[in-house]
Symmetry: D2
Subunit: 259 residues, 4 copies
Amino acid sequence: MEVLMIGDIVGRAGRRAVRKTLDNLDLEPDFIIANGENAAGGFGLTKDVVEELIGYGIDLLTTGNHVWDNKEIFDFIEESNYVIRPYNYPSSTPGVGFKIIEKNNFKLGVLNVIGRVYLGNYDCPFKVADKIIRKLNNKVDAIIVDFHAEATSEKQALGRYLDGKAGAVVGTHTHVQTADEKILSGGTAYITDVGFSGAQDSILGMDAEEPINGFLTQIKKRFKVGTGDTELSGVIIEFDEETGDACLINRIKRCHNNN
Amino acid sequence: MEVLMIGDIVGRAGRRAVRKTLDNLDLEPDFIIANGENAAGGFGLTKDVVEELIGYGIDLLTTGNHVWDNKEIFDFIEESNYVIRPYNYPSSTPGVGFKIIEKNNFKLGVLNVIGRVYLGNYDCPFKVADKIIRKLNNKVDAIIVDFHAEATSEKQALGRYLDGKAGAVVGTHTHVQTADEKILSGGTAYITDVGFSGAQDSILGMDAEEPINGFLTQIKKRFKVGTGDTELSGVIIEFDEETGDACLINRIKRCHNNN
Amino acid sequence: MEVLMIGDIVGRAGRRAVRKTLDNLDLEPDFIIANGENAAGGFGLTKDVVEELIGYGIDLLTTGNHVWDNKEIFDFIEESNYVIRPYNYPSSTPGVGFKIIEKNNFKLGVLNVIGRVYLGNYDCPFKVADKIIRKLNNKVDAIIVDFHAEATSEKQALGRYLDGKAGAVVGTHTHVQTADEKILSGGTAYITDVGFSGAQDSILGMDAEEPINGFLTQIKKRFKVGTGDTELSGVIIEFDEETGDACLINRIKRCHNNN
Amino acid sequence: MEVLMIGDIVGRAGRRAVRKTLDNLDLEPDFIIANGENAAGGFGLTKDVVEELIGYGIDLLTTGNHVWDNKEIFDFIEESNYVIRPYNYPSSTPGVGFKIIEKNNFKLGVLNVIGRVYLGNYDCPFKVADKIIRKLNNKVDAIIVDFHAEATSEKQALGRYLDGKAGAVVGTHTHVQTADEKILSGGTAYITDVGFSGAQDSILGMDAEEPINGFLTQIKKRFKVGTGDTELSGVIIEFDEETGDACLINRIKRCHNNN
Ligand SMILES: [Fe+2]
Ligand SMILES: [Fe+2]
Ligand SMILES: [Fe+2]
Ligand SMILES: [Fe+2]
Ligand SMILES: [Fe+2]
Ligand SMILES: [Fe+2]
Ligand SMILES: [Fe+2]
Ligand SMILES: [Fe+2]
């Protein structure tokens, strides 16, 4: 049972990279998940953007700190079957943080949690993940965790903490794929960050000019989504259908020229 | 002209990984540079540790935010030919931030700068790097920059900002190798992070127990260096001897069992 | 029923200021509470220091982010009747975050919570305080909250959020007394920070040299407790014995020369 | 020679507090300075707002981290005689960080600097302030520094560092007046924060609802300026006309009902 997990999709360029990748996919994943927190103009999600991405073949969108940037999210996240937000937001937060998606009688539990280091004052991702996984473990065949976090220490620590509990713990948020994919000793697939989907010639998917100006001037101006050639990065994870453990994690990267 | 750049060496396990790697190196770099900020027990450097590492074949140690953790550094950094610290510390800081190392009539300039996002209140790494590179460009054949920084945005931005000015901009500090090595359009080799050298079964090279406890309890206790099997990650960069531009950047990773 | 709340006691100088103030107190508070997180050499508490301060007439010590700095705390906080730590540390944390102290049949509930902005990843102080106050409200005659926090926004917000629920919400941690004491419309006494107790000629109670050097050099060295003349700042709060509402809050400041 | 320094003016309510205070001022300051970073709707300044405040009798507006929030500032800060921005922004930043204002042959130098702790990556406020003060000291009769900063440690440290160099170092940014005004041993008037000007029933001048919601939900929504009764806080500083030293610093606070 294979899952393709795609990193943060950044704006129109990122959505185009998703379409081009999935139109010609040389893999046959059973499930496709992507982090969509930057899919609408770099900031959040709209209903149209969700529908566009689901139309390309994505089964479920996870998110992160940028999920609330576009206020339209509040109109549809409660009803959406396609978007989850980090579980460890306060309990009254709209939307859900865990969803079970099913194909061919295989139930995949997808849990989204967000890190706290440098990011914000959320509930403890370690305890929240542990609790929800215990609760839902016997209702699903495997669990994949999207840990949306900045610090490599926090990401490695959660990976190890959930080793043997979840089938996979994969990082998002930094928009840069790491080269440390592995299967931990307890059977959990792990990677610090799966990367992003968007403009190649960019800073994290955004046009480079304003981010560089921002560092030079210490004055924040509005960022624009990058344009031109695109890339998509992610991982393929194969779960053992009996145990829910991971038996394979492979990084993927696909590049497309802008035609 | 080839340079091997090794990521943050973490404690005894990291030094052992360096020794084992360099003892049996299947590559023939002209220069070997490593980030040594965590080489002495995970925190800073001592004179003995510097000598040990130089004895293994390293030509120069760069550093970062942990450079001052072991107070012995203040006794020898001024005289040391083997250790540089981030250039963009205040101007009165002991030690230097740039060094020229020479082999076979090729002069390699090594510049160490540190990022500010989430890290500290240093001088602007963009302006400092730009200024020093302009100044020293015609005294060296190529320049490699170790950008010790946390945020992927700041690292990508500096890479692009220095594209065409330095021969290579390579990141350190996160202790996790990224999979985004490339040669930018201006001829600068770039990678967000070269990774680390230390215990495999660890959090960033440190024994996993205390870091995980720290996230769970929010109480900081002393970390211990990890033990057991080790790995070393880094990059090989080849510079064109005429232009100083990079013509190749390859990630390397070497694993060793603890015998 | 009057309570004297004293701000963060910093080291030997701070303890001396407490002794001198309480030896000649021109007020007759029923309860004396102080924040002791910096009482032992500026960092944490020891058993001896707790006993010394209780001997001067303090009834209970609250704490904050520095409570664990001196590891001796782990030996006695579980058994201590005189020290509480922020309630919103993870639930497994040693010690308690709320204590009832009684005099003349008046039961004063003292709740210690810590802020998250710029400080750390604790449980939500708003929800934690709300919950514990609801739970214990009918077991006590009045409740005072020591909110140990950095940001004025978070402190003002908690004050208003608890207005009418607690009898007083007083801030600690910044070591600088604010001039905004008031009784909020719901009957809760509020001040953003009660100040500190320690050396006058200092930075937050510590000898000025190293803090200033730290800002100039960006290299952290060990701070020493300030010496010489001292001051103590705090507030007097009077609670209505029937309702538990505050009917008065007055700032106090006492200075002592070092004889 | 007396100066009235008014804390951060927050929106329409803050401007009304300024007008009401200055219309009936029971003091006769020679100069009136105010921090205007929040004067236009809580975020930045517009040309109209500057003119309105100058019309009320303010001589010069200092600013801080919010100065660029309203993009209109870029249209007029270069030409404005009435607005300065923190000097320690990068050197290419529009506007100036120091201005000399003159009355009755007394030249008052006003320097605006911003802190780095928790705020941003500016140039070192200690070195920048020291340098500019040395340079301009003999061109002015006294110097007042508005240090716009968050951390009490950084503010106290700069006060002491400039003691004897500037006539006054007064803090802004926290919007809460501190009770620690004093004249330091070298003759410099100091206060950690002069406070704010705006709606009383508010969080830092903004309507309380959204800030409290923000802490509870960890989702940022747009803040609105507070309404209703107002207050203005600030300090009066008297400078010796011969030496430029401070001979007096008094806190002031004025409250107005909303009629
Ligand atoms: Fe993202
Ligand atoms: Fe993110
Ligand atoms: Fe490191
Ligand atoms: Fe580092
Ligand atoms: Fe304290
Ligand atoms: Fe504290
Ligand atoms: Fe402000
Ligand atoms: Fe501000």
